[in-house]
């Protein structure tokens, strides 16, 4: 074989380049059917032709043969002698595939047997010809030159074809040494230029004549023979070929001799053997005869989708599981080493490089002459140029995604034929560009996803019709830019994913337990398909079902810094969205620091930054077991302390002697002060600011840095908060690999060089999560939800307002009764008799304090007074309290015995303080008994008229007593029930007595909704008014309640409103 590496490399690249577009061209030709697009056919024809031309020269005989036969068929199509139907195109496609395989493994190409392809191609050629010519196709002839040398093994059919086109045949003998090398030409260029004036039928190097020369006489000539067909006449030929006329032989009929005739020749030239003797076991099913072609094609194309994924190598390498399966398609494993770049872009780069040099000179000049202004200006210039340069260089790496997406037309075509499905593939956004490396690595996952869509997603036409869908399935491949990322969407309108089926399949495979599944949402269940070892297929087919796949897809995409999202509607289809960074080399990152080192956190993983002020750390950060969590918008977010994870010894600069002292805090929530700062203090910063003078700016105890900085990050199924010491800027960083000694430190994705020349490590978010053995979001979420649900089942969530009376006594009141919280100057408070009032919104607001009604300490005198304004009986009153005033939601666990007194419901522990719950009504009643005159009147009236009886269902003893208390106080009689079921039983027994039903919504055994439904659906009871009591009413609740027939909703502790409604429904007052 030809040994010149450079030329060979050039040939391979050029050929692969030619092959690049062939597939889509062929598919378009196939679509066109009889309406042949000559340009397209010519394109493909030329590709085959130039590959053939070069191959002959390189001594790549197998490639030459194959290309030659492909060319023949294409020639027939071009001349309208052959209709490009699906089977023929299939043969061509496979032929070109093989050609590509051969080219990619050029060393071994001559030993590969391609006879199946060749036979198939010959069959096509023959089928288009009249009988008598058919024999010619496979008949080989030799050309005997005047000097007796033989140019062997030419297809007679081809020679005849050119002759019939009126072309002259020449055998041109170039000399590699004199004619090509000495003239500084390149053999490929020569071939290319020849093609402009005619057609190269065959070309080869006459090794034989080289071989006969002895070492002593240096070879003067290495003949390179080209069999050439052209309309040019013989006498013009020498000018065309630029060689001496003696080496140009015009070929006449007499020189053409049938192969069989010279077989006896004792000294034939070493024939460019076809190596048919060395047939190796073939993997591709052979196509024996045209009649059998169709089924054979299908069988053979089984292999092609896999074959179409040359990048499968990466996956194969990664997971050994995948390897044996794709063994038969071990295509080339070398990644592309060279790249085509737009010349314009190169010019830009050149230009920028020039600018850079210029600016550097200016900078040096400026520095030498200590001209600060000039230095600054050139600094700016360099800044600009570097950015532009970076952009331009990145552009050279950018390739249109069409390179990959186009292949799927073929994959889908072959696969759908094989599976007897009709599928239309729509590709959008072909011009979206992606970094070359990403592009190469995305091929595999994409192939897998598309294959899945075809195999599992789209149903057979029959199934589709039964489902009432179009028989033709659609798969959409879409690429688009969004928010600095490339989005790839693969959606099909197939059968979709059935969460339950997936879940049960996963249980069968032992990947999850039933327990786990029972806690999963539908989405979580669907995401089970990403688990290693998961497979839905009952049988292992060629296409899928081996249980390797989706997990590989997700790992591949995550290595690229991408995200994958799954969305599916059972019966409607599946959409998979992949988000990818534009490039891997430069990534935007958030710079953070822990201790003395900086760490870069890829922006892709970053969701938000959270800063918890020092004063709130204790409240916001909770610990579950030994793990810290923060509640972020209702979700529990696990916290990881980066310093702890990496075992960084925390130090802080000692303010006195400026040495680093080891950090003494261990827990995130540890604070130095015994009681945490109040909101007020944190806001004014007064005590801290006085100390600032003594403290170093860097001192972490300085109030600003005492806050906790959290980067909320997510990677795949993980989401957590990463606690770092400081958050710095967001920067674009260049990713550099770290040395082999650090490969096992999985916490880092690499390193980068910061502006000051120091190195910063890049954190690997998903590995960090794994290191911390963090459960995935779904699990964590489920745990949290389960815990919450449990808690909610036991107790109820109530919104409370907490405040203090003096420094020591803690109180809480139901938030629903609170109108406002005001801060008024003490000087505006007027004393009228023993009452305090303040001018407020054009009226007088009476002010009270707790010490007036119960045994509490009087409030200390202050300049400003915090007042909680309550509204009772349409009148406002203010309760003077001591801050902090805070609203919180918690489950009530009230001890209503120990600390019970006037205006106090009971006590409970809130934030480690014994807190007393204030009963505002009792308070008001104690202070203004006359406000309640009306109620008393009704109560008396009722006592006279006969009592109204209310059935009250409530599971919480506290609420039951509270609510019952004030209903009874107002003169009603109450029948209590501990849950809905008991209430229902009671109702059935005593329906005649009961006038109204009051029910809690969340109850064990039977909830309020069910109870209401039963009441409203039974004509015996449906006349009863049902009022629902709830602590938290959401829109959804209201809807649901209305649907079952609840007449009204009331907040549990809003006594006044509740009683008003009760009276309204009972037609009292």
């Amino acid at each position: 074989m030809f040994e010149d590496d450079e030329t060979l490399q050039m040939y391979i690249e050029e050929s692969l380049d030619h092959l690049g577009d062939i597939e889509s061209d062929l598919l378009t030709i196939e679509e066109g059917g009889d309406n042949i697009d000559i340009d397209l056919v010519n394109n493909v024809f030329r590709a085959a032709h130039s590959i053939k031309g070069g191959a002959g020269f390189m001594g790549l005989n197998t490639i030459k043969d194959l290309a030659h036969h492909l060319e023949n068929v294409l020639g027939l199509i071009r001349n309208n002698e052959l209709t490009p139907d699906s089977t023929r195109i299939s043969v061509l496609l496979k032929g070109f595939d093989k050609l590509e395989t051969l080219l990619r493994d050029i060393e071994a190409s001559n030993d590969v047997d391609v006879s199946d392809h060749i036979t198939a191609l010959e069959d096509i050629t023959k089928s288009s010809l009249p009988k008598e010519q058919q024999a010619m196709v496979s008949q080989m002839v030799d050309i005997v030159l005047a000097d007796g040398r033989i140019f062997q093994h030419i297809s007679l059919y081809e020679l005849e074809k050119y002759k019939s086109e009126g072309k002259n045949l020449f055998l041109v003998e170039y000399d590699l040494i004199n004619d090509i090398q000495r003239k500084e030409k390149n053999p490929i260029e020569v071939l290319n230029s020849l093609q402009k004036t005619g057609t190269i039928i065959d070309s080869r190097i006459d090794f034989d004549s080289v071989g006969t020369l002895t070492v002593a006489s240096t070879p003067s000539r290495i003949p390179f023979q080209v069999l050439f067909a052209s309309i040019i006449e013989y006498d013009m030929a020498d000018t065309l070929f630029d060689i001496n006329k003696q080496y140009i032989h015009a070929i006449t009929d007499s020189m053409i001799i049938s192969t069989s005739a010279i077989e006896a020749d004792p000294k034939p030239m070493p024939s460019p053997d076809r190596k048919e003797a060395q047939i190796q076991p073939e993997t591709v099913v052979s196509t024996k005869s045209p009649a059998k072609k169709a089924p054979a094609t299908r069988a053979a194309s089984t292999k092609s989708p896999a074959k179409k994924a040359p990048a499968a190598k990466k996956t194969a390498k990664k997971s050994t599981k995948a390897k044996p399966i794709e063994k038969d398609i071990q295509v080339n494993t070398k990644p592309q080493t060279s790249l085509r770049v737009n010349v314009g872009l190169l010019d830009t780069l050149m230009n920028l490089a020039g600018e850079l040099v210029l600016s550097r000179n200016q900078l040096l000049q400026g520095i030498n002459s200590s001209n600060i202004k000039a230095t600054e200006i050139s600094g700016q210039r360099i800044d600009m140029i570097t950015s532009e340069l970076q952009e331009a260089i990145m552009k050279t790496r950018m390739q249109p995604i069409a390179n990959i997406l186009n292949k799927f037309t073929r994959v889908v075509r072959d696969l759908s034929q094989q599976l007897d499905k009709t599928i239309e593939l729509e590709i959008e956004g072909k011009d979206v560009e992606l970094d070359k490396t990403i592009l190469e690595s995305i091929n595999d996952p994409l192939t897998h996803l598309v294959r899945n869509s075809v195999d599992h997603g789209i149903e057979t036409p029959m199934e589709r019709e039964q489902m009432g869908k179009e028989p033709v399935g659609t798969i959409v491949l879409k690429a688009f830019h969004d928010a600095g990322q490339v989005n790839l969407v693969i959606s099909d309108d197939g059968r979709g994913l059935y969460p339950e089926k997936i879940a049960s399949s996963a249980i069968d495979k032992g990947l999850v337990t039933e327990q786990q599944v029972s806690e999963m949402t539908e989405k979580n269940k669907m995401e089970l398909i990403f688990m290693p070892g998961f497979s839905m297929a009952k049988e292992v087919t060629d296409v899928s079902g081996r249980g390797v796949g989706m997990d590989v897809v997700i790992t591949n995409i995550e290595t690229l810094g991408g995200i994958i999202e799954l969305d599916s509607t059972p019966g409607q289809g599946t959409t998979i969205q992949i988000k990818l960074p534009l490039t891997l080399a430069i990534i935007p990152s958030q710079i953070t620091s822990v201790g003395n080192e900086r760490y870069a956190l890829p922006q892709v993983n970053l969701n938000e930054l959270l800063r918890i002020p020092a004063a709130q750390v204790k409240e916001k950060i909770e610990t579950v077991g030994d793990a810290a969590v923060v509640r972020l918008r209702g979700e529990l977010l696990p916290l990881l302390n980066l310093a702890e994870m990496l075992g960084i010894e925390k130090t802080y600069p000692d303010p006195k002697n400026k040495t680093d002292l080891p950090e003494r805090r261990f827990n995130t929530a540890d604070r130095r002060s015994k009681h945490h700062l109040t909101v007020e203090e944190a806001l004014t910063d007064k005590p801290e600011q006085e100390e600032v003078v003594e403290r170093e700016q860097k001192d972490r105890r300085y109030h600003a840095s005492s806050a906790i900085n959290i980067a909320v990050v997510s990677a795949g199924a993980f989401k957590y908060g990463l606690i770092v010491d400081q958050l710095h800027d967001s920067e674009e960083i260049v990713v550099k690999p770290v040395g082999r000694h650090l490969k096992k430190c999985t916490a880092y994705a690499g390193a980068t060089i910061m502006g000051d020349g120091k190195v910063a490590l890049i954190l690997d978010i998903s590995n960090l999560a794994q290191m911390a053995e963090l459960s995935t979001i779904s699990e964590a979420g489920q745990l949290a939800k389960a815990a919450e649900a449990e808690a909610a089942a036991a107790k109820e969530q109530v919104a409370l307002l907490t405040f203090k009376n003096g420094e020591e006594e803690h109180f809480a009141a139901p938030l629903s009764l609170v109108e406002r919280i005001e801060r008024i100057p003490t000087s505006t408070i007027e004393k009228i008799g023993d009452k305090k009032v303040v001018q407020y919104r054009g009226g007088a607001l009476p002010l009270y304090e707790l010490s007036q009604v119960a045994d509490f300490n009087p409030l200390p005198e202050k300049e400003q007074q915090e007042v909680i304004v309550f509204k009772v009986k349409d009148r406002e009153l203010g309760l003077m309290v001591t801050p902090p005033v805070d609203a919180l939601e918690l489950s009530l666990d009230i001890d209503s015995a120990t600390l019970k007194q006037t205006a106090i419901n009971g006590s409970m522990i809130i934030n480690e303080h014994t807190t007393l719950l204030v009963d505002i009504f009792e308070l008001v009643k104690a202070l203004n008994p006359d406000w309640f005159g009306l109620e008393e009147k009704i109560a008396t009236e009722m006592a006279e008229d006969g009592e109204k009886i209310i059935l009250f269902a409530e599971d919480s003893a506290f609420f039951r007593n509270q609510v019952k208390g004030f209903i009874v106080e107002d003169g009603f009689k109450v029948i209590e029930a501990e849950d809905g079921l008991i209430a229902w039983e009671l109702l059935k027994e005593r329906v005649d007595e009961i006038d109204l039903v009051l029910t809690d919504l969340e109850m064990p055994n039977m909830d309020g909704f069910e109870l209401t439904k039963r009441i409203k659906n039974d004509p015996k009871y449906s006349h009863l008014t049902v009022i629902a009591l709830t602590s938290l009413a959401s829109e959804a609740h209201l809807e649901k309640g209305k649907a079952v027939g609840i007449d009204d909703y009331q907040i549990k502790l809003d006594r006044e409103k509740l009683m008003k409604i009760v009276r309204k429904y009972l037609n009292l007052s």
Partner: protein
């Protein structure tokens, strides 16, 4: 490349020598890329104990190995302002720095001058030494760079 010294017994080899934890060691000078005093080292938490950190060497990330720790030798306290140096060696297409206490002379010797290491520096330490080289005044332990740079 690092094994060249073993192949040609009579060939002259230059050894760059340096002190590590009180011991005089040497390596084939051809393995050395450069020697510098760059101590802007970024620590890498969780790396092996002998990894001093990583360093920016003109845009390349270089791992710095504390040679004394790697060889289990007592090391002088790292007062980086003094004689400490990074010897940057080229190994498997990667630059790796060896942090040493101080640099000494370059010694010219023949490969067959190197004698096998005495048995009392056997054991764990022993595997890091190719042998010893005796000069008129000093005894130089010749390091087996490949072994030293093995990641473990």
């Amino acid at each position: 490349m690092t094994k060249t010294s073993k192949k040609n017994p009579s060939k002259d080899v230059e050894f760059s020598t340096f002190y590590v934890g009180g011991a005089l060691c040497g390596i084939d000078i051809l393995n050395i890329q450069e020697i510098n005093k760059n101590f802007e080292i970024t620590q890498v938490p969780q790396a092996s104990h002998y990894i001093e950190g990583i360093l920016n060497l003109r845009g390349r990330i270089v791992t710095i190995i504390d040679l004394a720790k790697k060889l289990n030798l007592e090391s002088a306290p790292k007062d980086k302002s003094k004689n400490h140096r990074n010897i940057i060696v080229n190994s498997e297409d990667e630059h790796i720095g060896l942090l040493v206490d101080s640099i000494s002379d370059v010694v010219l010797a023949k490969n067959n001058d190197i004698e096998p290491a005495p048995s009392n520096i056997g054991g764990v330490k022993g595997k890091f030494f190719q042998g010893v080289l005796k000069t008129e005044t000093k005894l130089i332990g010749i390091l087996d760079i490949d072994e030293v740079l093995k990641e473990s």
